[in-house]
């Protein structure tokens, strides 16, 4: 079962409901793609699943553990790639990744491995502020998968990446990985056709409420575009 199970999730911001009664079920190894206009609650949902925000009502189970009570059980097994790269601009790529490696108790060798896979080994010792946005995004991806998480939460991961970089990054955040350790993914996307291609399950959010929840096969890009009207 594991994966992500959400039942009636609500989270308010003062009197405004950021999320209102959202429910979904995602099995281990599946990919959920979340669509919706800005302010619909996509980022809030992602952050709740990441244990960064507490649910105010409803039940949330991530990788078998109930939030917020057992959040500490899953913390090391989730990878988040948000809008912010979560990296220090004055430190180098290598220093940033090494810092995260220490926090997650990951061997230093893994840092080198990932630097090579995102093709940044030769620029790994320059402060991040001297790298382009695309490069910083690549380092951010490396950070997100550094500890080989079972659950990946991605907020528009392909933004800022040119096609070559997308090719580099896809294997890292893609669904196919080690078959012995299935990777569950939740992706927020604004691209109806591209996002749909990745999805097993599709969730559409509008004003914090779920407008649609279907298997990927039962939904067309036009229906998704409807959400944005």
């Amino acid at each position: 079962m594991a994966g992500v199970q959400v039942e009636g999730l609500s989270r308010h911001y003062g009197e405004r409901e950021a999320l209102d009664g959202v429910s979904l079920s995602l099995s281990e190894g599946q990919t959920l793609v979340v669509f919706g206009p800005n302010g619909a609650g996509k980022t809030t949902l992602l952050r709740v699943l990441a244990t960064l925000l507490r649910p105010h009502a409803g039940e949330v189970r991530v990788l078998g553990s109930s939030l917020p009570g057992d959040a500490w059980e899953v913390r090391g097994r989730i990878g988040l790639l948000g809008h912010e790269p979560l990296l220090y601009r004055e430190l180098t790529a290598r220093e940033n990744l090494r810092f995260h490696a220490r926090l997650h108790d990951v061997a230093a060798g893994r840092v080198e491995e990932l630097l090579a896979r995102v093709r940044l080994e030769h620029r790994a010792d320059e402060p991040l502020r001297s790298l382009s946005r695309g490069m910083v995004q690549r380092v951010a991806v490396a950070r997100a998968v550094l500890h080989d998480p079972e659950l990946l939460l991605l907020d528009e991961p392909w933004a800022n990446l040119d096609p070559a970089a997308v090719e580099l990054v896809d294997p890292l955040i893609g669904a196919e990985s080690d078959p012995a350790r299935p990777r569950t993914r939740v992706i927020c996307s604004h691209d109806p056709s591209g996002g749909l291609a990745e999805a097993d399950v599709v969730l559409g959010l509008r004003d914090g409420r779920q407008a649609l929840l279907r298997g990927a096969g039962d939904v067309s890009p036009e229906q998704i575009a409807e959400l944005y009207r």
Binding site: R47, A50, T51, L52, L53, R54, W72, R75, G76, I78, L80, G82, E84, L86, L87, Y88, R89, E90, L91, E95, F99, H100, R102, L103, H104, D105, P127, R143
Partner: protein, 224 residues
């Protein structure tokens, strides 16, 4: 826990070494303030109560500069998120930041105390130095604990540069009271005396209580 504190502290000092945002500013501020005091008080030499007061006030305001910058890099760039996602004890951040602030204060004093002795202090410092260092150390511990808590409180608000000092100063008054009272006899003309044990005890107790309070409350500031 120790490993996490180590990793955090290392990152902290690395960022500070790269940007040199806090320590040079604090030290320069202290020296400049001594010059200002010279002109404001129209004195070339101070001792006893006055000297203790000037020293502590200057160190206090320089510390405020450091407190203001303490969490800014994390709030603006690295993000607390990355730390919150890691399977580590959250209080490690408090300990690491407090140790970093303590380190900054020590470096500040390495510059400020000799500068003070050079520019304004009348009586020679030699004999009283070990005692002075002891008093300063006790004061630093309290400033580090309270400063870190206040910095964490202020950084994610809108008026972070204003709220930090406004919150910190009243909370640090007892440290100034204890510190200044304990330092006065050390800087007195003639035979420098010992710092009254009562004040050392007060300082120590205050440090302990607020250290514990900071430890207990810090987690609540980080979550969302």
């Amino acid at each position: 826990m120790r490993r996490t504190v180590g990793a955090l502290l290392r990152k902290e000092l690395l960022v500070e070494l790269r940007t040199l945002e806090s320590v040079p500013a604090m030290s320069l501020f202290a020296v400049t303030t001594f010059v200002v005091f010279h002109f404001a008080l129209q004195r070339s030499s101070v001792d006893g109560d006055l000297a203790a007061g000037i020293l502590w006030v200057t160190l206090l305001f320089a510390a405020i500069l450091g407190i203001n910058r303490l969490f800014v890099a994390d709030a603006d760039q690295g993000g607390f998120d990355a730390f919150l996602l890691a399977p580590v004890e959250r209080t490690a951040l408090l300990v690491a930041k407090a140790l970093a602030l303590l380190a900054y204060l020590v470096v500040l004093e390495l510059v400020a105390v000799p500068a003070f002795a050079l520019l304004l202090l009348g009586p020679p410092l030699g004999q009283a130095m070990p005692d002075l260092l002891g008093v300063l150390a006790l004061g630093d511990l309290g400033v580090a604990a309270i400063g870190t808590l206040v910095a964490a409180l202020a950084v994610r608000t809108r008026a972070r540069d204003l709220l930090g000092p406004l919150l910190a100063l009243p909370l640090l008054v007892p440290i100034v009271i204890g510190g200044a009272r304990a330092t006065s006899p050390l800087l007195a003309l003639g035979h420098a005396g010992d710092p009254p044990g009562r004040w050392l005890l007060t300082l120590g107790l205050y440090d302990l209580v607020f250290g514990l309070i900071a430890y207990a409350l810090f987690d609540f500031l980080l979550e969302d």
